[in-house]
Symmetry: C2
Subunit: 461 residues, 2 copies
């Protein structure tokens, strides 16, 4: 509980206009893309790392939880105030500080919206590849906290691969800089990558130094329909084996196609069981050549239909529809559990087969789509909470699903993080000594456990 | 001190044939590429992670230092037994366990020589890019410990970018797996990247899961001579600004050219003040086009001469000579201090100017070469220990050099690590709270401080 006196101290640190305490103002800060709901006791909008430092020192004295929050677009509940406390809304850290074209480096604050940053760098003909489906909402700080991936990860990697250094406030209040502003650097332990993907439990990141690359000269988007998911997956394997490195290699199963076909504004050929969205990029000549090779492979693999997006607007519409799949599947049922497992690419066919069997056995729609090029599949288990038993069936299905993923030497999360939704299952993947070590690391950062408690670990650490 | 009884226990864990204790057998394990000398008390050649686990448990009981060692090619003293103790020579962990062509992933043991692994993957038309100059000697485990870079880092990144997961033995004896075997994964804290570059101070890595990429179809090597270092550096800037991403962009100053020109077997044009070695790769058409653009830029920037290596053998000879620069500069003086600082690419000209002024002021040869594309310059300060005062002058020059690097917002090490040679200077780069946090992390792994003590930190932690 944050006492009245502590609220007054917070108000004097932040200025009263940057502190919310009225119940109805707090509600939006208690939920996120998981649709789960908790109530914070107050919401702070700090303006400087120094203010955050003072708030964290106060939290250490008064022992209240502090929960950093970006856009609240997270899918594992990382920003939820599960134990109450103070939400640290990072909205005011919204400046792009520098785009350095000579060094291909940018300095940005954590609250900058991903898409806004991408537009700014593309304007000067540079490129920041990470593109989570939520780019129009998500913040770069949130992307760092979860190590967000996205559609282009198969070629360009994930957020981790573009962060050179960070400014962060430790839970005990010290403001630190990690990493470098240069292309390389190995001085001391890699605090930068340790903070990336730590889901806001180790420090409050306020600023990032990001690596940029030249903007590819040309892009080509293609779409292929297949009669079955397994045919799609085999095609993906052949594309990878053929040494083509597509920018994106996105898979939608039959259920997803049904949900998005209207939004895509495209006729779906009879008998379509799955769809592959493929993008290649690079030098004009190379992109043309690779597009031709992709087409040949799709045709040889029995694609029902193959289309090239001839105009940029067509292509944008396809990607927009792809980004909206997660939302579109709500057409099927009012509730869902959304996972983002990864299996080795060579095991995808087996995984998809298992999923179809599981859906049929549970009698619940399960929509699968995602980054086939990475083996990273978003599985959405749909249900209606109001129908007795459905939620329990869905939850039991998750457990079976995870067991299969582990048996296939995969991982429970490719890009959404553990948060609270996967915490109960983390022991399926990580051994006891690994969890204990992670617990000791958490303590090395946050001895009193005030920063984003209740996340990642299935028990109090 | 390791007692006689402890040596007996070690012998029974390892088998007597895998434990060295005779003074003269120990000598080679007390030095490395730094030429510094320390004496271990014994050298163990463990064969399994379980043996390592038992050794580390014993070390925790008996409190003796354990120092993991790959090939001893490290340049910052990371493998040196500075406080005596037991060297853990990882030579027997020398198997390539799997090269999985469908998933573009390999599993290897830590003692595999980097070049041997590269050959094995290239045989199946895949590619493992990290290529430290010591590839023919260095081990993959050593590369992971230091986060080795190399000539191709400007395009392909460093060791960190190719490690998906690790098997490691914690200093307290637990055998853990970190990371994933899949393309992506974000479950729990990123122990994989925390161990990479931790210089053997946090755990003993025994096995790695490495990411592979398709082998580029074509490569072109070029060489350009310029009248001054600053002209070279300006050319590098223009190449980067022009959005060409060369595989390698290597710089040699006048002093280095003098040392290697015979080995390179090439006439050096009159008035050459610096040399640029450039490689582009990729699809045949693209490589040809980029090579042409590189040539145009070099010519426009006033190159004294521009050459293309027409045959593969020519090109191999150039790269071999480049890899040997570090050795060749000993022609100038019997002793050297070798650094690998990084500055932002845009500050390289200023740095090179400073270096020339410093060399002239100190009246010592300073040879600079390295990865101009990354801003990562290997500065070799040459001296003769036997001439009174020279070593002191060299050491004072290092301190000045580092101060300049920090002022230019650079870093003290791009790929060699801190080890013992840079430990006294680490506070120039890292703040006190950062060092204290790193000390707490070290303790979270190694509460009794038995693993590779005396490294990275300038004081006992």
């Amino acid at each position: 509980m944050i006492s009245g006196q502590t609220l007054q101290t917070l108000s004097s640190i932040l200025g009263p206009e940057h502190l919310l305490t009225r119940q109805e103002d707090l509600i939006p800060f208690g939920t996120d893309a998981t649709k789960l709901r908790f109530m914070p006791e107050a919401v702070a909008f700090p303006g400087t790392p120094e203010e955050i430092s003072r708030i964290l020192q106060l939290a250490n004295q008064e022992l209240f939880p502090v929960i950093p929050r970006g856009a609240g677009s997270g899918k594992s509940g990382g920003a939820l105030p599960v134990e109450g406390g103070l939400v640290l809304a990072m909205d005011r850290f919204n400046r792009i500080l520098e785009i350095d074209r000579r060094n291909l480096v940018a300095r940005v604050e954590c609250g900058v919206i991903t898409a806004r940053f991408q537009e700014a760098v593309e304007k000067v003909d540079l490129f920041y590849p990470p593109d989570p489906a939520s780019i129009h909402i998500s913040t770069l700080g949130g992307n760092v906290a979860e190590c967000a991936g996205g559609l282009r990860a198969v070629k360009y990697g994930v957020t981790r691969d573009y962060v050179l250094g960070l400014t962060a406030v430790l839970p005990t209040g010290e403001i630190i800089k990690t990493g470098v502003e240069t292309a390389k650097g190995v001085v001391g332990y890699d605090l930068t990558r340790l903070l990336i993907g730590s889901e806001g439990t180790l420090a409050v990141v306020t600023e990032m130094v990001l690596r940029l690359i030249p903007k590819p000269a040309s892009r080509r988007t293609m779409m292929a329909f297949f009669d079955s998911a397994s045919a799609t997956v085999e095609t993906v394997s052949e594309i990878i084996r053929s040494k083509i490195v597509p920018t994106a290699l996105e898979f939608l199963d039959r259920t997803c196609i049904g949900c998005v076909k209207e939004d895509m504004g495209l006729a779906v050929p009879e008998g379509s069981g799955a769809l592959l969205l493929i993008e290649v990029d690079g030098d004009e000549g190379l992109a043309r050549k690779e597009a031709k090779r992709v087409k040949d492979i799709c045709t040889r693999r029995g694609a029902l239909e193959f289309r090239s997006a001839s105009r940029l607007r067509d292509s944008e519409r396809l990607w927009e529809a792809r980004r909206n799949v997660s939302q579109s599947v709500y057409k099927l049922r009012p509730d869902k559990i959304s996972e983002d497992i990864v299996v080795p690419r060579s095991r995808m066919a087996e995984f998809i087969g298992f999923l179809e069997e599981l859906a049929s056995r549970c009698d619940l729609p399960m929509a699968a789509y995602g980054h086939a090029g990475d083996g990273n599949i978003h599985v959405n288990i749909l249900f209606d909470e109001k129908i007795p038993g459905q939620m329990e069936t869905a939850r039991a299905a998750v457990k079976e699903l995870f067991a299969k993923v582990i048996a296939l030497r995969g991982t429970l999360s490719g890009e959404h993080g553990v948060g609270i939704t996967k915490a109960p299952f983390i022991e399926m993947e990580l051994s006891r000594p690994v969890l204990e070590l992670m617990g000791r690391l958490k303590k090395a950062f946050d001895p009193r456990g005030i920063l984003n408690p209740g996340k990642i670990f299935p028990y109090k650490i």
